[in-house]
Symmetry: C2
Subunit: 465 residues, 2 copies
């Protein structure tokens, strides 16, 4: 494990807040060691920093009550969704209260005429899509995990559909939030666009719970397309695949998904998902549109792929085949771990302008080889975002040090290419040094906003800033 | 004219700053009465509040220098693009310095591989599109005026293409800005998405120059579609037209534009643009896609229109006919003024969930009739946004009072429908009371952010907050 910095604890305040919250929330207030540990960071290599207690509110008013108690006693409050974040977002470096929003999981309204819905933060993306299916609607954002929508908003999540539908910042119309002083606000109305004042919606999206706790989310929805087709195509090299992606985007084909798996990842998928794909770099695509439209899109992509040496191009409109292919893509994390049983997976998350993508991915692979690291790569390549997953023996300090060096090297490379150290995972604890490298003087204004809204630093302290 | 509130002036500071700026900028520093008046508000009914001087910087460093001088002497700094805003955004209620960015009008880079470009804030949207055309690219956001891209970012502008391509918030990748203390920051890298810290890009977009001056903008671009077709269709009522729009959006037809003109507006367009359209409510549409795709979209829309009593459906792929139709749409402001020569046009800008659009537009028309106001209406109806243009004799105080009442009534109605008082024009001075009605407690946090970043309130004081 990599130690996360501990922050000074306000023992007196924490004791007082614990007492009040225990009385107020009875069995919805928990302090057992195992539940506390589950509410600290449990993924990746950042060490767990458990909160002092976990509270399970049922309403916005209860969240506000918890925050007011914590504000009065200057005690940290950490919003918790499903705990699937990757950069230590839910750790409690100064102790405090984890506010577990999983029981605030009601879908409050679906406005099918307006293509939007209102949900509580504990609703997961799969829960929402199951609920919507009968109405011919879906919500497109799909990070790997079945994350909560509150958590996805807080980390500005995206996933495989972002190339067509954007990220959480593009798909949230309005938020309700409890601010650090316990006040409840709404950031916007339900209109599809607005120029009314500062964009507090977008300020809270990606703030990782450091400026307020999201208690209600108004989401844009999409109609399920008339037709969906998927395609796959193998390429002689990662470089060739990336160039085909670049051309596809420039050509304006409205791909719904365009995902890269490198040769190692394809091998892992073959083994894990019982597939029989050629073990060379692969692009997986999905097209949304009319019956004629998706065929046209796939054919146009097919011609582009050919130019770049694409082979074994296969298109399907069969729901079964499509689901199997995308299930394999979604299982890539587990499939990759299968390449080295017992290893831990450390995911990088750089995103670069697409013109630099081929160079960036190829350099990352060469560097990993050079350092003797096993590092299968998958990517949301239509956005220039890819994940090199380092498979590390955490008991080998030399390997851990190498992984740390690789992560830093790759983040620096992406930043030097006018890219970012994080396309979708967020800053949390793990990427704080890189945020400063990436945005320099701008971070001082982020800190000023944080101080203005949360002067006692009770909202998820030790993250981002 | 409607008087805008004056704010206390810092005479000593202004005198000092004027002296320093005059020496530094020589003939790029101007204090003539007429140029000062041109740099205050000159559109709509809000009275002009001229700045004390106008400076024309040529670089980000010069903007930073101006801001540092003004910060030191606590003098207001008001960024100025083309002066086409409608809510008093560029007025100087406490005096101060207008920073005219029109000479910072260079297109710094076009990255055609990445579908983005970097421009200075004084570049206008038409200038950019003229520059891009040869490369097969375009920038879709088109407010009525040939506004500057800095101004468009500052007011979160949109226009007729927003239904397909989004607003400025969706089409800016990164900003460079001079902050209230004179520091230069970059808000993001050029990657297509990022989860790196607070979204300062979106915070500055729509902040109307109250948090910083935008000095460079990285914009997303679009490839010019393979095919573009346009269509028009007449409807028996505004209600029927709005219902056809709602169905079109729900059906998922990716319309690039879908604009409503009410019967009065069609009459005005006929007279002004020498057209011969039936004088009943009209929808104008544009479709972008492949050759087959645009035909398919138009045909699907045609069937929907028929269900709602649409008549005289006409589709064209002729560039000439299409340009003539959209030119008429873009000239609607002037055409409407022709309905009552000598009158001033006061534009409303509400935006509501699309399920409430028909009711909102119809209520607005009934109310205007009831009050005896001439009020042609056009709208970006795919987004639920419409402009009722009040044609007012400004020398008749009774009429001005009625217009004021109407504007307040309509804003209240939109807010009661979960909509906004401003879809795209912004708050400025004119809509401040409605912002508080619309977002209530949230405005306190906007004010806190403003105080944190601009403690001396030098950046465009008296706007938004």
């Amino acid at each position: 494990m990599v130690q996360a910095t501990a922050l000074p604890r306000n023992e007196v305040g924490i004791d007082s807040a614990l007492g009040i919250l225990k009385q107020r929330f009875a069995d919805r207030f928990q302090t057992g060691a195992s539940i506390r540990e589950q509410h600290g960071h449990t993924t990746t290599w950042i060490a767990n920093q458990a909160p002092d207690a976990v509270v399970f509110p049922h309403s916005t008013e209860e969240v506000a009550e918890i925050v007011r108690i914590c504000a009065e006693h200057k005690v940290p409050v950490i919003a918790f969704g499903t705990g699937t974040s990757l950069e230590g977002h839910v750790n409690a470096p100064a102790g405090g209260i984890s506010v577990d929003l999983s029981q605030m999981n009601r879908i409050l309204a679906v406005h099918s005429d307006d293509l939007d819905c209102v949900v509580q933060p504990g609703v997961t993306r799969e829960q929402l899509n199951t609920h919507l299916r009968d109405q011919g609607l879906f919500f497109p954002i799909d990070p790997g995990a079945n994350a909560s929508l509150g958590g996805m908003a807080a980390t500005r999540a995206s996933g495989t559909n972002a190339v067509r539908y954007g990220t959480m910042k593009d798909n949230v119309l309005a938020l309700e939030a409890v601010m650090p002083d316990g006040q409840i606000i709404r950031t916007a109305q339900r209109a599809k666009k607005s120029s009314a004042g500062y964009d507090l919606t977008r300020l809270l999206i990606g703030a990782e719970g450091t400026l307020g706790i999201i208690t209600e989310i108004t989401l844009r929805l999409q109609g399920i397309p008339e037709a969906i087709s998927s395609a796959r195509c193998s390429f002689p090299s990662v470089d060739a695949a990336c160039r085909a992606v670049m051309m596809t985007i420039q050509y304006g084909i409205p791909v719904a998904r365009i995902e890269l798996l490198d040769a190692q990842s394809v091998g892992a998928a073959n083994a894990y998902s019982k597939l029989d794909l050629p073990e060379v770099p692969l692009l997986l695509l999905e097209f949304h549109g009319s019956e004629a439209g998706v065929v046209e899109q796939a054919e146009t992509f097919g011609s582009i792929a050919e130019e770049f040496g694409g082979q074994d191009f296969a298109m399907t409109t069969s729901t079964e085949e499509r689901t199997a292919l995308w299930q394999a893509r979604h299982d890539m994390y587990w499939a990759s771990l299968g390449l080295r049983p017992g290893a831990r997976g450390i995911s990088t998350d750089v995103c670069v302008p697409i013109s630099r993508l081929a160079e960036c991915v190829t350099s990352a692979q060469e560097k990993a080889d050079e350092m003797g690291l096993l590092a299968p790569t998958v990517g949301h390549v239509g956005d220039g975002n890819f994940h090199t997953l380092l498979l590390i023996d955490m008991d080998n300090p030399d390997e851990v040090a190498k992984a740390d060096e690789f992560v830093g090297w790759l983040n620096d490379l992406a930043i030097s290419m006018d890219g970012t150290c994080t396309g979708e995972h967020g800053i949390g604890q793990g990427k704080k040094p890189y945020l400063a490298k990436e945005l320099g003087p701008a971070t001082a204004y982020m800190a000023a906003i944080k101080r203005a809204l949360d002067p006692d630093d009770i909202m998820n302290p030790g993250k981002i800033i």
